[in-house]
């Protein structure tokens, strides 16, 4: 059951970082092909990451945290899509100008101010997702907006950046990445923190995505568009939910984060009530309790002990029972601890951490819990936690437990959380700050001239919101319009309307719905561009191609590229007859064709005759004309 939350009263606000891969031939800083993904590799490289100073001489908190994890990072390489730039053995080539142009177009579509001189910066990521240890990124536009539910949604800035590696496996101190996606040009669109409900978040994602798609120059498909969602409640803190693959997932994720933050604020109050008001009030004591577990029939602990690992107990003063304090729906504070321990201390043997209450539920658990309690000298108000693994990692884990409780005295810690199926999140890393950014000394700045911006403006397609309004005046369903914008069909519809005079609804439905169903049945309908569709609608508006035959002709042209609509009609036997030829045939049907129950209503009779006639005169007469004729005849007869 969905736990309710009054978003307005808790002051939920949210903003987006929408990532969109651009449709370029090459990667952003090298000449490798972009968008060529592989599942095999023919080389491996092993690296480690160390934090470095930012330009202003400060270490970034995230960088230090990631250094604590001491990971071995392995990159899987494939010659088809990776070069020595990707593996950080060659400096960057000049930034891909095609990508800059697309990013400018996207910015203009969102009413943005284009940066005069683009500077490439390095954004540190020590998690290994980029072999250099930083992502090359640059702001292209600022100060834009999108029309959203009758108001303006601020678009703070758009940056152009290189995509990161795909994670293959993260186990203990070793993380493996595939490098095919690395370096693909990507835009990050950052909105203001102005979204007030989970549904608004979803709709804003869809709007950003539709806008990007409307340029016709972005990648589509799985992983081509991903978003990070920033959420906070009043008194809480900005938490970034990372890697949300689809807009509808946002609803539950945002809702659950709202609940999590509200609960963490209640936990803060509870800690304060217990006299734990400041981070320094949280005290930790760690003891080796391996011997206590020596004979305990607890499988995961024994497995760890067999590898020479230790079992350690961590006492935290004054937090008795708070491990079970609720956080997200159906998760509790222990999950906050385990997420952090998994990432930073690299302990990954589930359940990663156990609180005293959980220990008590183990076989012989009550006795074990008592022994541990004595060992760590836990008082009546204290609680303890058990972790297991290499001793050094256990000590890191103990420190992380202390830090997490210390953070809890202040409410909600700033962090990046990974989205999981089902609308839940888990700790990914501490939220990075501006200190992880510094200029890329390998790349010169790129001046963006007014001319270049103007040229990009000329290439801009109609804005999606304008199109939605125009198409809805044609009575085109919203879903069809959105499909046409996303797939690039809207440009064709507009051209067909302009050049052939076909009515907009017909063009939109034929291209947006009929063609979509043809595509699903395997017809390569995407081969039909503006030229082919204009040719088809030309024939239709000339009265030589009945509406119901458009589908057949389009299929024919798709299967036989280079065929004109006229030639396709000839091949398909579409050849309209004169009225003098077909009307007698229909009249004949009217007189003698309807032989069943004469008491039937005129409507039923009409439908039957029209159906028969259309079938007989297929490809010879437009169905609409037959219907009109039958109707007139029947009406005449009834008079």
């Amino acid at each position: 059951m969905l736990q309710t939350l009054d978003y307005q009263s808790v002051g939920l606000i949210s903003g987006l970082e929408v990532h969109q891969q651009l449709l370029t031939r090459e990667k952003l800083f090298c000449r490798c092909p972009a968008g060529l993904f592989t599942e095999t590799h023919d080389g491996e490289v092993l690296r480690h990451m160390r934090p470095t100073l930012s330009e202003l001489g400060e270490y970034d908190g995230t960088a230090l945290m990631e250094f604590k994890t001491k990971k071995e990072i392995v990159y899987l390489l494939n010659q088809l899509n990776v070069c020595t730039y990707d593996m950080d053995d060659t400096p960057p080539f000049l930034v891909n100008q095609e990508a800059i142009d697309i990013a400018i177009e996207l910015c203009l579509a969102m009413h943005m101010d284009i940066i005069d001189e683009v500077h490439i910066a390095r954004k540190q990521y020590l998690d290994g997702s980029i072999p250099t240890g930083f992502q090359r990124t640059a702001i292209i536009g600022v100060n834009g907006w999108l029309p959203f539910k009758g108001r303006k949604l601020t678009v703070t800035h758009v940056s152009l950046e290189e995509d990161s590696c795909r994670e293959v496996i993260d186990k203990g101190h070793r993380i493996v990445f595939r490098t095919d996606r690395l370096g693909t040009p990507l835009t990050e669109t950052v909105t203001g923190a102005e979204l007030r409900t989970p549904e608004e978040v979803r709709d804003a994602i869809l709007l950003c995505s539709l806008t990007a798609r409307s340029t016709g120059r972005v990648r589509t498909g799985l992983g081509a568009g991903r978003q990070d969602i920033n959420v906070s409640v009043r008194g809480g803190c900005r938490v970034e939910i990372k890697g949300v693959p689809r807009a509808p997932y946002a609803v539950k994720l945002v809702h659950n984060e709202g609940i999590r933050q509200s609960n963490l604020l209640k936990l803060r109050d509870e800690l304060h009530a217990r006299g734990l008001r400041r981070p320094t009030d949280i005290q930790m004591r760690i003891s080796d309790v391996s011997d206590i577990f020596a004979d305990a029939p607890v499988e995961f602990v024994q497995r760890a002990r067999a590898n020479g690992s230790r079992v350690m107990a961590v006492r935290i003063n004054g937090v008795k029972g708070l491990a079970e304090f609720p956080t997200q729906p159906s998760t509790m504070f222990t999950d906050e601890l385990s997420g952090r321990i998994r990432v930073i201390a690299c302990l990954d043997e589930p359940p990663i951490v156990m609180a005293s209450a959980q220990i008590a539920t183990l076989p012989a658990g009550r006795r074990i819990a008592e022994k541990i309690s004595r060992r760590v000298q836990a008082g009546a108000q204290d609680d303890f936690f058990v972790v297991w693994g290499p001793e050094e990692d256990c000590r890191t884990a103990a420190e992380e437990i202390r830090i997490r409780f210390a953070d809890a005295t202040e409410g909600v810690p700033k962090e990046t959380r990974q989205s999981l199926p089902g609308g839940f999140t888990t700790f990914e890393r501490i939220l990075p700050g501006p200190d992880r950014m510094y200029p890329d000394t390998d790349s010169p700045p790129t001046r963006i001239t007014d001319d270049r911006v103007e040229q990009a403006r000329q290439r801009l397609h109609t804005a999606p919101w304008e199109r939605l309004e125009r198409y809805s005046s044609w009575r085109v369903p919203v879903e069809t319009t959105e499909y046409l914008i996303r797939r690039g069909g809207a440009e064709i519809v507009d051209a067909a309307v302009k050049e052939t005079g076909v009515d907009g609804l017909t063009a939109a439905v034929e291209i947006g719905q009929v063609a979509k169903s043809l595509k699903r049945s395997g017809v390569p309908i995407e081969r039909l561009g503006t030229e082919q569709w204009v040719d088809i609608f030309d024939l239709h508006t000339d009265g030589r191609l009945p509406r119901e035959c458009i589908r057949e002709v389009a299929t024919f042209v798709g299967l036989e590229p280079g065929t004109t609509a006229k030639a396709a009609c000839a091949s398909l036997g579409i050849d309209l007859q004169n009225e003098s030829e077909w009307k007698p045939q229909v009249s004949e049907l009217l007189a003698h064709g309807y032989t069943t129950d004469t008491n039937d209503s005129p409507e039923k009779r009409m439908r039957f005759v029209v159906g028969k006639a259309v079938e007989q005169l297929k490809r010879k007469v437009p169905a609409r004309e037959i219907a009109a004729f039958v109707k007139a005849e029947l009406q005449g007869a009834s008079k």
Binding site: D42, G43, E44, V45, L46, R47, H48, M49, R50, P51, T52, L53, E55, L56, G57, E58, A63, T84, M87, D88, D89, T90, P91, D113, I115, D116, E117, V118, H119, A121, R122, K123, Q124, L126, P131, T132, G133, F134, T137, A138, I139, V142, N143, H157, S159, G433, P434, D435, R436, M437, Y438, P439, T441, P444, P445, R447
Partner: protein, 477 residues
């Protein structure tokens, strides 16, 4: 990080790198470099951040602002409609410097700094990386060094690798002599990679019979990058200086591009073979001396020795320091259509030595003979090496070679061209007696000429070729 509020007119670096209209705008709005600003442009966009110095090679139309979100943007000066200073924050790029802890149980190593990317930071003037960390700051960046040795550091120069020359080689050799006399267990030299092999060669000649290892180290990825090889190289170099048994001049750099192990290359037999790869250095015509691991290998060792043929560590040995260098020496890379004028000009300019990197077994074409003859008659020593890098100059095989020998060219066997250059300059700094020159050039000081080439001396790694992989597995690990 320090923040000081200095009045505008007292800021000496107020316009650092700014000229023309960009500077005028800074003046107009009473701003300067490191001002925290709020800027509005003609489209009403607001920018909040810190004004950064401008690279002098960039135009005078833009002002660079590091926004508070960390990104840098260049704002067209003529689009700025309003701006005001809201603070002042001068960046001091500094690694927290800590005193190096002393452990009486550990060996003494001296790190001599020359510059280069092993120790570097950002330069706002050019927007590039400059050598600027004092070696002392290295410990702040690589605290693991304290687990390896007692390190003292001395900054001799602060030059890019390409600016190294005799003015640096001679004091460097002398400094090494002093450190050895002072009783260190090993010496590490921080060096840019471009000419590291050249320095390795000249030091091999200037510092002979060293009792302890002399290790050149650098990095191919500057230490301002998280993926830098600097820290591992430095750890391995210090470990080599402190504990390795090879008391020679060596280069310590990545073996493979992975963070796996470094290779120790002999100073006279080594070459930079890739402009940017981490594992750029290759021993030519022999195998490297050893592998160095920054963590113990499965046998609990830090070193895997690949040969027995090296000078062993012996602290009782007294080194010979011969810091000589003749500057009028050149190296000429022969190519078809090489014009004799070049050699004539060198003769006229009084050049005393010339290393030719000849084709094949050590050849140049006939039109050069008169110029070479005249050069030698004028007292120039001309020696022949091979531009194939691998293999020997063997000038008896073809008539061309014999003709050249007749002219008085001295073949250098399998000495590398750059090594021959360094050796010739070193020898000519000591004598002008042709007989003595010939004798010194042909008598190996430290394997710059080897009597034989081992079967695995011709080792050019070629990616994933299975036979190469199998070969290196067998011979290197």
């Amino acid at each position: 990080m320090t923040t000081t509020n200095i009045p505008l007119n007292e800021r000496t670096d107020r316009f650092q790198g700014y000229r023309g209209s960009a500077k005028q705008v800074l003046e107009k709005f009473a701003l300067g470099v490191w001002s925290e600003v709020e800027i509005t442009n003609d489209q009403g966009s607001n920018f909040r951040g810190v004004i950064l110095p401008r690279s002098e090679t960039c135009d005078d139309l833009h002002i660079v602002v590091k926004l508070f979100n960390g990104y840098n943007v260049g704002l067209a000066a003529d689009r700025i409609t309003d701006a005001r200073e809201i603070g002042y924050k001068r960046a001091v790029y500094k690694i927290p410097e800590k005193e190096f802890p002393f452990d009486p149980k550990k060996k003494k190593v001296t790190l001599l700094g020359t510059g280069g990317t092993i120790a570097s930071r950002l330069d706002y003037r050019t927007g590039a990386v400059i050598p600027a960390f004092t070696p002392g700051e290295l410990y702040g960046a690589v605290p693991e060094l304290a687990d390896i040795a007692n390190l003292t550091t001395k900054k001799l120069f602060g030059v890019f690798s390409e600016n190294m020359g005799p003015q640096q080689y001679i004091p460097l050799a002398k400094a090494i002599g002093e450190e050895i006399a002072a009783g260190v267990d090993g010496i590490v030299i921080g060096h840019g990679t471009d000419t590291m092999a050249h320095t390795g060669a000249i030091l091999s000649f200037m510092v002979q019979n060293s009792p302890v290892p002399i290790v050149l180290v650098g990095s191919q990825r500057s230490s301002d990058r998280p993926s830098s090889d600097a820290a591992i190289n430095l750890m391995n170099a210090v470990r080599t200086a402190a504990e390795c048994d090879i008391a020679e001049v060596m280069l310590c750099m990545f073996g493979p591009t992975s963070d796996k192990y470094d290779l120790l290359h002999r100073g006279t037999r080594c070459r930079k073979m890739h402009s940017s790869y981490r594992s750029t250095f290759r021993t030519i015509g022999a195998t490297p001396l050893a592998m160095v691991h920054h963590q113990q290998n499965e046998k609990g060792q830090y070193f895997d020795y690949l040969t027995d043929d090296y000078l062993k560590r012996d602290k009782s040995r007294v080194p010979t320091i011969i810091p000589t260098f003749e500057e009028k020496v050149t190296i000429q890379y022969y190519y078809p259509n090489f014009n004799p004028d070049i050699i004539e000009a060198l003769s006229d300019r009084g050049y005393r030595g010339m290393v030719i990197a000849g084709t094949g077994l050590g050849h140049v074409n006939k039109p050069l003979y008169p110029a070479i003859k005249r050069a030698i008659e004028n007292g120039m020593t001309v020696v022949m090496t091979v531009q194939t890098l691998w293999g020997f100059a063997q000038m008896y095989v073809y008539d061309t070679g014999r003709d050249l020998l007749e002219l008085g060219i001295i073949p250098m066997d399998n000495m590398l061209p750059e090594t021959a250059y360094m050796k010739l300059a070193w020898v000519l700094g000591q004598t002008d007696d042709p007989k003595k020159i010939r004798e010194l050039m042909l008598k190996p000081v430290n394997h710059e000429i080897t009597p034989r080439e081992p079967h695995n001396g011709y080792l050019i790694l070629q990616g994933n070729l299975p036979e190469v992989e199998a070969f290196t597995r067998k011979h290197w690990k």
